[in-house]
Every structure is written in C-alpha cells, then in structure tokens.
Subunit: 340 residues, 2 copies
C-alpha cells in the first residue's frame, strides 16, 4: 500500500484503536502491549474471503460487523470476556479508492466493538490482486476455566441461545436473487428484512457465554456451520450421543411462519443452515434453573432442544433426531454454503 | 475448504500444535486457552500476499519460515518472549493439491518455531480464488516494560544487530532473474547463496531483544522496511534527530565485498533496502558495555551506527548522514519493493 498504508493505519488507529481496558500500548508500535491483569487468555482467528464468505457487493459496514462478530462468537463459546482485536485487511485495487469504503467499514466495526468495549490494537493492511480478504484475531480473558467441546456428559441437557436458521433462509433468497443456486420461497418484505439482518449482523452471545461459564457450564460451542454439524463436533470430542427434537429448535417468528410444518425446511434452515452464531451448551439438569435465569436477565431466548446420551454400539449415528416425537432419518448433507 | 479444511487443520494440529508452554487448550476448540502466568502480553499480526510479499514460486518451507519470522521479529523489537501463534491460510485451487506442499510448509514453520519453543494454537484455513495469502498472529510475554519507538532520547547511541542489506541485494538479483525491475551485479555462487539465505530465512532477534530489555533499553524497533525508513519512525515518534554514519552500517562479508566503496550501493542495500529483520536500538552510552556483553554472549554482531541528537530548527531532515565523516545528502527514495 506504500504511503496509503500508513494513512489507513492512522485512520484505523484514531477511529478504532483509542485507549481501551488493559491497553498499555496500542496501534503504532511493532506490537501491542496488553495487560491481562493476572487472568487467562483466550485467542481465536478467522478469515473471510470475498465471494467465498461474503458477497463482493456487501456493504462495508456489514462486512466489518460480521468479521468481528464471527470472532467474538468464538470467544463467547469459551465463556471469555472479549477485550482486544487485531485486523488484517488485504485490499484489491479499487477505482473509487477506499476513503468512503473505510469510513463505512469503521462505522460497522465500531458499532459492534463499542457494545462490548473492544479495542483494535494491531493488524496489517496490504494490497492484493485477489479478492478482498480479512483476518481478525480476537483476544479475551477468563478467570477460571473455559467452556469446551469435549465436556458433554450423558444426562446433560442440550441448549441453544436465540434462534436458528434465519441467516440460512436469507442466504437462500440472496443466492436466488443473484442467479446462483439457492432455494427461493415467497416471503414479505418485512420477513425478508428480519432474516437479512440476522444474516448480515449476527449477535455474538458474549454476555451469555460469560454468564453460562459462571453458572458452571463446562461444555459449549458456537453454532456457525449449522447446528447439526457443530453439535456433532461436541459429540465426537466428548464421545457421547445426543437425542434432538428437530421441532424443538428455536425459530424466529418470521422463520416459524415460513417453515411451518415442513420438516424439510426445518432441516434446511435451523438444522443445517449455518451462520447463526448462537451458542450450543450442554449442561446437567441441575443448571437448568440458573441458566434460564441468566438468559432471562439478558432478555435472551434459551431453548432446551435435546439430551446427551451415552454412546451405544447399536446407534449408527451420533444423533437420534425426532420430529413430533417420532425418530426421523438425518439429512444426507450437513454442509452449507458458508457465510455468503 | 469443506472436508479438506478439517483434514488440514488436523495436520497442522498434530504437527505444529502439540502441547506447549502455557497452552491449556490448543487447536481444536472454538478458541485457544492460554496462560500468561501473570505476565503482560505482546501481540502482533502480519499478512503476506503472493506476488506482493513473496514470489509465487517460493519454496513452502521458506514461506512458512518467513511468515513466522516477520512476526517474531516484531515481538523481538518489544523485548518479548515469543510464545504462541495463530495462522490463517487462504489457499488458491492447486492442481497437485496441498499434500506435499503442506508437508514442506510445516517443516519450515517447525524449524523456526522449535528454535524458540513456539506453539501454533489456532487459526483458519480457507479457499481463495486469489493469490495465496497468509496471516500470522504472534503472542509473546513480558514481565516489566516493553521497548518502544517513542523512547529515543538525545545522547542515546543508535545500535543495529547483525548486518543489513543482504536481503535487498538478493532481491535485486531475484528480480533481474525474473525479468523484473531490479539492479543486477556480478557475484559468485557462494555470495549469491549467502545473500539469498538472508532474504528467505531471516532470523528474528528474540533472544537479544529480551536481553536488551533486561539491560534497561527502552527504545527499539525491528528493521524491516529499510534502516532509514524504520529509524525515521523512531525519530518521529520520539521527536528527536539522529546522526548516522552510513559507512558504519554493519554489512556481511559478502555484501561488503559487493558494495565496496560505492556509497550508492550502501544507500541502496543496507540503508534503504529492507527485509533485514534486525533490531535498531537507541540507548544511553552507559548501556553500551552491558549491551555489547549481551550480544557477545549470543555471538551476535552489534554495531553502533550513530547518535540521537535534539531536534533543531535549522535541520531540514530528521537524519544527518555522513560518509567517511562528511555529511552527504539523504537518498530521495527510502521505500523498497517489499519482501519479494
């Protein structure tokens, strides 16, 4: 980026990198100097590539929000307090330059960062001849232990925060609109807008992640690749089985209206759709009351969707799924078109 | 990367992410869980893009080394002990796949990481339609204070570790060889090989950075964009001036033979060439003896190249440069072709 790089870094520093909690030296030196204040550290890094993880015509505001949100969601799943981020931007040549683009990008970043008191403390800006590529590293702090994938135990209840499937349904519409492979369906402008907001600006469940860890929950994961795929990571890591009621999955009012009684749509959107950035938690029934209380205190929906069972030899898959109390076959594909 | 992504992550985990100091939970969960053991944190992130920061035909071994080294060099400049890294790989489609490529890449990463006891604790692998792009986040620890750019004071001596300019000279040869703009010069195969090794596998001065901070040095920066450009960042941040003896800059035996008495070559390579990944330090004369001792203990060359002066109004530039004790004009361009 030559001279432009320093101008860009200065812009990021002055707008997003001002003094923050535990920041002893932020953007502008060889590295940031941060004070964990005797606590433990949690670190994650995610990369988004244009046309793979987002549409190239995305509004910079939404792109910044999402790039930050997907990383914060990982910290939330560990039960960490989010603190600091580093951002790497690889920018392709752009006729109009990046002046207005960066303004909008920084506004989106700030909107989410300020909610959670997160400071940008470093990163890199480089030029690329390829698609716009962003990497974000998020750093958080925990006092005691973290929630992890390998800690589900038979008898645990399986919980999900918020609602699932909105982003996947919105992606279907966005793909069809762009002449790509997706599944169209009729919906109102208001429904569309509600779904699209969930797709573009996911809400990392940081506050609830911390509260759940404080309640004593040991097992959690963020739901980003689709509930079934992510749950299966927990089951595999923990060596357990789960029984899940498909019809118990939490749907937004809009998606409930659209999915109706069609189990195929329930499978496509909330079960395997992805990009929800909700939390999946597994916890003993004794924690049900405090968890419900913590969620209520945050006005966050929290839904029990199934149980963890011991693995048995005669179970062909890790998940037994029911629909209206009847066992139904698992979908053949769990994957999803990531994050566009 | 679909299924390939998980295989790749497992490969990275099992080869580069095994148990390490302070790693309570490494690759395989939503985020890594790390123990700073009550110390302060230092964090940096750098991104390399094919054909911008490295030749696309680079050996994966060397690419991994360099991507790690440039980040560790930033930690060294702060005086930090390097501990943990996160790696994001955006990989373009490749006919031969990434099996053998990754083997070589991991070997290069490991060669440098094991020298400094650094564990890979997270990251991301994604597909891209653009050039191969790598982002690395490096995390280190300090006990007390860090060395910083804005702490140079009048009277300080200016020091440089190792030698400067080899990478820039090697880049000249590599560019000419590829039919790009560079400055060819005759050299022997042995000279070429020595220069090229410095270009491909820079040695981050982590051990010396820690020792210098322990000696009480407050001001340092890593020399990556060219000595003059990087020194000017120190001078600007500290609000001071410097007098530098161009002919005192430390050159390798090979580069000394090639640069000879030609000040134009001294300007081109050690002064403005870049990609040295040495440390520039500014420290009061009282620290000269302990710094020399620390360097000697590590068999590392350490050279005094000038002095920090107060800024005076009649000084047109931040640096007064001499050659054989005579003031000479500064070069008109300080930039460099980055890191290819």
């Amino acid at each position: 980026m030559a001279g432009g790089e320093f101008a860009l870094i200065e812009q990021l520093r002055s707008r997003l990198g001002k003094a923050g909690k535990g920041v002893r030296l932020g953007i502008g030196d060889d590295a940031a100097w941060l004070d964990p204040a005797g606590r433990q550290l949690v670190a994650t890094m995610d990369t988004l590539v244009a046309d793979r993880h987002f549409f190239p015509d995305v509004r910079p505001y939404d792109l910044a929000w999402k790039a930050l949100a997907v990383n914060l969601s990982d910290l939330a799943a560990m039960g960490a307090e989010a603190r600091w981020c580093l951002l790497s931007l690889a920018l392709p040549p752009r006729e109009a330059g990046y002046g207005a683009w960066m303004e909008d990008f920084m506004a989106g970043w700030r909107a989410l960062a300020e909610r959670h008191d997160i400071t940008l403390v470093g990163g890199d800006t480089v030029a690329t001849d390829g698609p716009l590529t962003l990497s974000v590293t998020a750093l958080g702090l925990v006092d005691q232990s973290v929630m992890r994938r390998d800690a589900a135990r038979p008898g645990d209840m399986v919980w999900v925060t918020g609602s699932l499937g909105d982003a996947a349904a919105a992606l279907d519409l966005a793909l069809v609109e762009r002449g790509r492979e997706g599944q169209g369906f009729p919906c109102s402008a208001a429904q569309r807008e509600a779904l699209e907001a969930r797709r573009l600006r996911p809400m990392p469940r940081l506050e609830f992640g911390e509260a759940a860890a404080a309640c004593g929950v040991c097992c959690a994961m963020d739901c980003s690749d689709g509930f079934l795929a992510d749950l299966s990571h927990i089951l595999e890591a923990s060596g357990v089985h789960a029984q899940i009621a498909l019809d118990a999955l939490p749907l937004s009012r809009e998606l409930m209206d659209l999915a109706g009684e069609d189990p195929e749509r329930w499978q496509r959107w909330p079960l395997t759709g992805g990009d929800d950035y909700e939390l999946i938690l597994c916890a003993p029934p004794a924690l049900a009351a405090p968890l419900r209380q913590a969620a209520a205190a945050q006005s966050l929906r929290l839904t029990a969707v199934g149980r963890i069972l011991p693995t048995a030899l005669d179970m062909p898959a890790a998940v037994t799924m029911t629909w209206r109390d009847r066992v139904m076959p698992l979908p053949t594909t769990w994957g999803h078109v990531h994050a566009l």
